[in-house]
């Protein structure tokens, strides 16, 4: 079927929403509660548009497309309504962008920028203390817009079932279990809620102050822990040669989801404890040597012993922790150079 948005015609499929078609075609409509993974919510009302033949403004995230539908996203009426929604959102929290970790990567900031809102018209809410109790996640209640994405994600995406809405009306807030501090709750710090949060209400604690999004280089890779092979993006501070944050990529097999190790266990390459230089044991002590010396010595010892006792006294361990290329290299060395099949790895252990 075909629909028209702002006088441009687009192809659409049964079951899609107006917002989805707009997103697919790079037409920006402010929206905060919808996320592909958490689905329709119809909560934030920021995505209102006019649709020919329908009375009043419609939330584009909940309206299913129909053939021939005509949508307008840029009338004064639409803009006015969107502006009011975003303004009230800004007014009912403390959305200070200056040192917010989300600055430059915040969907509320994007909406305010798009609508030309410089500052909130009112200041309605008192400041609340942030929950900084957990090891990896900061919950800044002043920045929460109650979109519910974190709750939906926690309960239906990763199904850890920790987050929920507590209290009612303007007092509504996101709570952990029976309103516990995050550290005391059943939370396993998988960080899905942080990844889904459109604003600065849920923040990776370790990344605070480590770099603005535009200063960090993004490198896609595979997680180094278990065998699920989650796809993730490293946020790299090149100047300091450090990974400062990890996010999940929304592709197979993990669709953005990670666990506590994959998301937060990323500093080990930069650890001071790393082995940095080749070493040879001399008089019972490991001494730093050049690669040249270490390789010459190792080759000499392998040759001596194999020449004396045959190739089968040589054994090599590959590893379930290293790349395919390195395993293949060890395998080929063992078989083609030493000429034994004594190569194995930790699959048995």
């Amino acid at each position: 079927m075909k629909i028209t948005i702002d006088n441009r015609t687009f192809e659409a499929r049964e079951g899609q929403t107006v917002l989805q078609i707009a997103k697919e075609n790079d037409i920006y409509i402010p929206s905060l509660c919808y996320h592909r993974k958490t689905g329709q919510a119809g909560k934030c009302r920021a995505c209102v548009v006019e649709i020919d033949g329908m009375r009043g403004l419609q939330t584009s995230c909940t309206v299913a497309v129909k053939d021939g539908m005509k949508v307008t996203t840029n009338t004064p009426k639409v803009r006015g309504a969107q502006k009011l929604v975003i303004d009230l959102m800004l007014s009912s929290g403390h959305h200070d962008c200056l040192s917010c970790e989300k600055n430059g990567n915040c969907e509320l900031q994007d909406a305010a920028y798009f609508l030309g809102i410089e500052k909130a018209s009112f200041q309605l809410a008192e400041e609340k203390p942030a929950d900084i109790s957990s090891e990896f996640i900061i919950r800044d209640k002043d920045k929460c817009i109650k979109c519910g994405r974190c709750i939906e994600g926690c309960n239906n995406t990763v199904v850890n079932e920790v987050l929920a809405f507590g209290d009612r009306s303007s007092e509504t807030e996101v709570v952990c279990d029976n309103d516990l501090e995050m550290k005391d709750s059943t939370c396993v710090q998988c960080g899905e809620c942080v990844q889904l949060c459109p604003v600065g209400a849920l923040i990776d604690k370790k990344s605070v102050g480590t770099g603005r999004p535009w200063d960090l280089e993004k490198v896609n890779t595979t997680c180094p822990y278990c065998g699920v092979g989650c796809q993730l993006t490293l946020h790299v501070d090149r100047k300091h040669n450090k990974i400062v944050k990890v996010t999940g990529r929304e592709v197979v097999p993990n669709d953005g989801m990670l666990c506590v190790k994959g998301r937060y266990g990323f500093e080990f390459p930069s650890s001071e404890n790393r082995l940095k230089y080749p070493m040879i044991k001399k008089n019972g002590k490991h001494e730093r040597v050049s690669w040249e010396e270490a390789l010459d010595y190792t080759a000499k010892r392998i040759k001596e012993i194999v020449d004396r006792d045959g190739p089968d006294v040589f054994s090599a361990f590959g590893s379930g922790r290293i790349t395919n290329e390195n395993n293949y290299a060890i395998m080929k060395f063992t078989r083609a150079v030493v000429k034994t099949n004594n190569v194995d790895h930790c699959a048995r252990t």
Binding site: C259, K261, F266, R274, Y297, N324
Partner: protein, 545 residues
């Protein structure tokens, strides 16, 4: 895995056995729990009350190491009720009579005596498996780390073939692989009996193929030693050189004291790693390797998906990629391996690969491909044995029988120790303890012990206890928890200061030589009273006190 991870969320029945999924494979557990939310029936079979039980319809707490008796009891009941997939048995298996015959002795009542699960529960499980739609079986090391690990796996395969659950979407036999690239290490031929893509070393045609491709003569056609044999032979002079890459052998092999003796007996020991470990002190030469995040290449995940890893950081000091080390050593021994980059290594292996031949770095730039992927046009394979057509032709049943654990508990060592992994750490914890924060959440190893046993021994959570076996002892705090079944203690091997492998037994499965990490006999004594553990304010907190 015969099937793909994402399929789990659509499964009708999920049968998890010997897998602490929420801790060891958290992201897979998300898919399992999603299936439960959509109405799937989850059966968790584990002596421990693991966290996944909170989402399960049934928790079967069979005795440690009695999987064969339990599973054969289920198969017996399936046949008794006529619930087997008769079409599948007739068309897709070679010897259906053998399985019918071989489970005859395992009536639910008899199985019950061995595994401790009431006969009527075994019957109930059989009914769910037979009647609730396609079941996916997921298992991990709780199945393989026994002296009967191979037969445990065969029994699971028997069950799934009897039910006709092979070659189906959201079915299959799914070992959840524990390490980021343990699948890849196997696929790459870091195994004593095969080259990469499982090409057998004792097949003359294979040997000829590799001699030609690699330009060498005299490749050995004799399968090599498996890891435990390599180590054991150090003591009788059969192994003189151990070239060890990315393996903290002292901490990860069973019976630590014995492993140290084996390493000490080596004439030449090379350890290549990213951190000093409790293994590196025994090395004559240490090579500093590049870590994850510092080099390009690929890992293969549990569902056979080959995925890119990329360099984001500069390696510290003079750490180098291991393919470079191999290239340099080979050069000194008169052979040019031809390795100039990770991708060059990849292209070299692709020349002689079969199931990997169609996978190039370019093709997996965005998303990985699942092998078999034999040609550049092949889209990869989501699940194996489609339509019940097995790689070998027809499915083959194996007769399996229950065997007692190598070291059953006795008067002197009355408790069973099972070991494994925690959510917050990984293996020998060189990575997780060198990252920030994980150690704050879980700072030291705890011995999980049941309320019954703790009461008998006068132990409270937080008390310092000594756990000892015939091979060693460790001192650590106790965690009195309903996670543990009476008679069974549990700890991990993450912390070298109190490592489960100081106690575990070096008894091995005869086929795979996988050690019985999941069962040895220990005793526990209180050393001194403690101040309790920082417990959560909820009835249960996942994965910690």
């Amino acid at each position: 895995m015969t099937n793909s991870i994402g399929e789990l969320q659509d499964a009708k029945t999920i049968f998890v056995i010997g897998s602490n999924t929420t801790e060891a494979h958290p992201v897979i557990s998300y898919y399992i729990k999603r299936a439960v939310k959509k109405g799937a029936t989850l059966i968790v079979n584990d002596p421990r009350r693991i966290d996944l039980v909170n989402w399960a319809s049934l928790h079967i707490r069979h005795r440690v190491g009695t999987d064969i008796a339990y599973l054969n009891g289920i198969i017996n009941e399936i046949f008794a009720q006529g619930w087997e997939d008769k079409e599948f048995l007739k068309n897709n298996t070679e010897n259906p009579d053998l399985i019918r015959e071989s489970v005859k002795d395992y009536t639910p009542e008899k199985a019950s005596q061995i595994c401790g699960v009431p006969a009527k529960t075994i019957k109930k499980v059989a009914k769910i498996l037979a009647k609730n739609g396609t079941a996916s079986v997921c298992y991990t090391l709780g199945i393989t780390e026994h002296i009967c690990g191979t037969d445990n796996v065969k029994t699971i395969a028997n069950l799934q073939m009897v039910l006709g659950n092979m070659g189906k979407y959201a079915g299959g036999v799914n070992p959840l692989r524990g390490q980021n690239n343990v699948q890849g290490a196997c696929d790459m031929g870091a195994l004593p009996n095969v080259y990469h893509c499982y090409q057998a070393v004792d097949n003359p045609q294979v040997v000829e193929k590799f001699e030609k491709a690699w330009g060498v003569k005299g490749l050995s056609n004799k399968p090599g030693y498996k890891m435990p044999t390599m180590l054991r032979k150090a003591l009788d002079g059969g192994t003189k050189i151990l070239y060890c890459v990315g393996d903290n052998t002292v901490q990860s092999e069973p019976n630590m004291a014995h492993t140290i003796k084996e390493l000490e007996a080596l004439e030449f020991f090379v350890a290549c790693d990213i951190f000093p470990t409790i293994t590196t002190p025994y090395a004559h030469v240490i090579f500093p390797d590049t870590a994850w995040g510092e080099e390009d290449g690929t890992f293969t995940n549990s569902e056979r998906r080959v995925q890119r890893v990329r360099a984001a950081l500069k390696a510290p000091g003079e750490a180098r990629s291991h393919w470079w080390v191999m290239q340099e050593l080979a050069k000194r021994l008169g052979y040019d391996l031809g390795f100039t980059s990770s991708e060059a290594v990849w292209e070299d292996l692709r020349k002689t690969a079969t199931s990997y031949a169609g996978i190039t770095f370019n093709r997996i730039e965005e998303v990985g491909l699942q092998w078999p992927c034999p040609t550049l046009e092949h889209p990869g394979t989501a699940f194996l044995h489609k339509g019940g057509n097995f790689a070998r032709g027809k499915g083959l049943f194996f007769k399996t029988n229950y065997v007692q654990q190598a070291e059953p508990p006795d008067k002197e060592y009355p408790l069973i120790l099972s070991t494994g992994r925690r959510l917050w750490h990984y293996h020998t914890a060189t990575q997780t303890r060198n990252s920030i924060g994980l150690e704050n959440i879980f700072p030291e190893e705890l011995l999980e012990i049941s309320e019954d046993d703790a009461k008998k021994l006068g132990i409270k959570s937080g008390d310092l206890v000594k756990a000892s076996s015939r091979r060693g002892e460790i001192t650590l705090k106790a965690w009195v928890t309903r996670r543990s079944a009476p008679g069974v203690c549990w700890c991990s091997f993450h912390f070298y200061e109190a490592c489960g492998n100081a106690l575990t037994i070096d008894a091995f499965d005869p086929v795979t030589e996988t050690a019985e990490y999941k069962a040895c006999a220990i005793k526990v004594e209180k050393v001194k009273d403690g101040d309790g553990l920082p417990e959560g304010k909820v009835e249960w907190r996942q994965a910690r006190p």
